[in-house]
Amino acid sequence: MPRRTMIEAIRDAMDVSMERDSKVVVFGEDVGFFGGVFRVTHGLQAKYGKSRCFDAPINESGIVGSAIGMAAYGLKPCVEIQFADYMYPAYDQLTQEAARLRYRSNGDFTCPIVVRMPTGGGIFGGQTHSQSPEALFTHVSGLKTVVPSNPHDAKGLLIAAIEDPDPVIFLEPKRLYNGPFDGHHDRPVTPWSKHELGEVADGHYTVPLGKAAIRRAGSDVTVLAYGTMVYVAQAAAEETRIDAEIIDLRTLLPLDLDTIVASVKKTGRCVVVHEATLTSGFGAELSALVQENCFYHLEAPVARVAGWDTPYPHAQEWEYFPGPARVGRALVETLQA
């Protein structure tokens, strides 16, 4: 089976979707001729023409707002916001328009759009190229939020997102674009070509939205993670020799609560990990759900490891980023509690 980077896998998902359905259009800043600053859309304009893949003005509200109008017309836009940090001008269009169009019009108009955006840190991107705003989307009624952690899932989830009848936020952990980064920034990253989840089948397949994956089966503690933190958690489990069960959520909303609850009831302990800031982060929701659904099975408080509640710093990136050492400490403490 061919191996692809996450960039290639995401591009392949769009390629397959554009090939199968002429209603799929792709646009965003630098997305057309050049193929995007991360080169994710490279070659799509050459293959499908300027009507199907084109450059947009630097205007995120305009990109999402026009995509909503296109979806209302009957197209299926898959747009790129260059960095998740740039999505705020489009937040009104996403939360009050895209998310509510089906509801407020009772299905008279719908909004099948996908908004892709690179998320997360680890590239010395500073405050405006490192944020993880997923909780700002999961808090909104009417949006689905997806965070893939590997090329195989990225392709299948993106095709599923494009085929979904409702708006989907597709957050691409940019530190995973070229390999499964585990937080050890001082070591070389294994390329996806040497990782089994870099195997990406040709042609059409989907990974269903709303289904988590167990990346490592274990009995001591359940770790809930998504995106880059899946690999950080794996590294932490190996380094502490703790038999952690690591769940890659893949879709934050709708959430695969059944998989979470079954695991925590088995292990009796739970650590929630994300890059985004702690307070009111998605980890708060996860920890509340675990408490509500597994309270009598818990042998320790649910722990959270997250980005500190500061803006994303530049020089202090690796002190900010919740790497394997911090996750490992949380695992140990949760087992000792």
């Binding site: 259009v25 707002g65 407020r104 689905k144």
Partner: protein
């Protein structure tokens, strides 16, 4: 250069406030028939002055004059009059129903009926409007059932929107009327996107965007002009300048640009100003702009100069911020009276027939109201089920909403 001294902060003020005498002497109004009608493929650079003039067809004697006249037959004009009268009567009844507690909120069109009623007639079936809350004439003029509008206003058991949306935020794809959001300006760029999609699909349908004078200050207005201009989208960009954004006079949003139409000039978009209380002028300009869109000539910005004679909404009292007699002093008159006088001048209408039509329309509206009320009003009679509250968030209800619906006991 001499010392300029301290900086001074400038906040524009309207000419007159409550207690003062209304004065529109600063509003320059071109004579009816005086503004030329360029070809639709005109070079926008040669018609920049049209963004500062006012296209008018009906003169003070009730005659249709000049190059923008002559597009509509007497029958079409009579239908236009009836639509405007229907909208006005509908508004009066629904405003009263709100005062009677039958709904929470209402917004009327008083003085602005010509804009949406005439515009609708310049479009073709399949075209799509992205309206604000003051374009119900688009529905009335397209034959959308009044009783369905009332069901929505009452949020009753037959409300097509299942009680989920604020009164008057209608939606009808079938009638080319995009779901009204209630947010301001967001729909403007969406209209441009719809138009881009139509062009991408090599379709022949066009879009119309709607916004008020106040909301042109929103960044989405600017986004829409950028996208419309860049992609030459087949869209008519409508700005309804009714002088007042709730209590804020139009000068606060307009700033130093002179007119709202002039906003389009920097984008190279042909930008016209039209007498919004002149049914014939609105229709003629809308038709011109729609033809441009349909012929791949791109967007047109049209500013309709009108006056909001009523309150902003049922929650507003304009006497707190403008003279009570200001609407009487408005120099462009009343759209219904002006079309009525024109039809009388044409010899196809009379005061008697007008009075008779008013009575007939009132009967029709009351009959629709009775039927709608038989299905309930906001606080009495049939209402949408609580279960409906959980439906339609997504195409398929996800597990967390199913759990919450069970918790709610529905």
């Amino acid at each position: 250069m001499a010392d300029a001294g301290m900086l001074r902060f400038h906040v524009p003020e309207p000419e007159v406030r409550p207690g003062g005498t209304p004065d529109f002497s600063n509003v320059t109004i071109a004579e009816a028939g005086s503004v030329p009608r360029p070809d639709i493929d005109v070079d926008p650079r040669t018609i920049r002055d049209m963004a500062f003039s006012i296209i008018r067809v009906l003169n003070r004697n009730g005659e249709a004059v000049g190059p923008w006249a002559g597009l509509l037959s007497s029958e079409e004009l009579l239908e236009g009059l009836r639509n405007m009268m229907t909208l006005r009567t509908f508004d009066a009844r629904m405003q009263m129903a709100q005062r009677q507690g039958k709904t929470s909120f209402y917004m009327q069109h008083l003085g602005e009926e010509a804009v949406s009623c005439a515009f609708r007639k310049a479009l073709k079936p399949g075209d799509m409007n992205f309206p604000t809350y003051r374009q119900a004439g688009l529905l009335i003029a397209d034959g959308y059932p009044m009783v369905t509008m009332m069901n929505q206003i009452y949020s009753n058991e037959t409300d097509p929107l299942k009680g989920r949306q604020l009164p008057i935020m209608y939606s009808s794809k079938e009638h080319g009327f995009f779901s009204i959001s209630g947010n301001l300006a967001t729909q403007y760029i969406q209209a441009v996107g719809w138009a881009m999609a139509s062009a991408i699909s090599n379709d022949s349908r066009i879009a119309a965007a709607w916004i008020g004078d106040g909301s042109t200050a929103e960044s989405d207005f600017h986004s829409a002009l950028v996208f419309a201009s860049t992609y030459k989208a087949p869209v008519v960009l409508n700005v309804v300048n009714n002088q007042w954004a709730i209590s804020t006079f139009q000068g606060i949003a307009r700033g130093g640009s002179g007119t709202f139409a002039a906003r389009g000039l920097g984008f190279g978009i042909p930008s016209l100003r039209v007498d919004g209380n002149d049914y014939l002028a609105v229709h003629a300009v809308a038709k011109w702009a729609a033809e441009r869109a349909r012929n791949n000539l791109g967007p047109t910005l049209v500013e309709y100069v009108t006056y909001r004679a009523g309150a902003h909404s049922s929650s507003d009292d304009p006497s707190a911020y403008r003279p009570k007699t200001e609407s009487d002093a408005w120099p462009l008159g009343d759209p219904v009276m002006r079309l009525k006088n024109h039809l009388i001048k044409l010899g196809v209408w009379s005061d008697e027939r007008h009075a008779q039509a008013e009575a007939e329309i009132l009967d029709t509206v009351i009959a629709a109201q009775k039927e709608a009320e038989s299905h309930g009003t906001l606080h009495a009679g049939g209402k949408p089920s609580t279960r409906e509250m959980f439906e339609g968030v997504f195409a398929e209800m996800p597990p967390h909403l199913r759990r919450q619906r069970q918790q709610a006991g529905v």
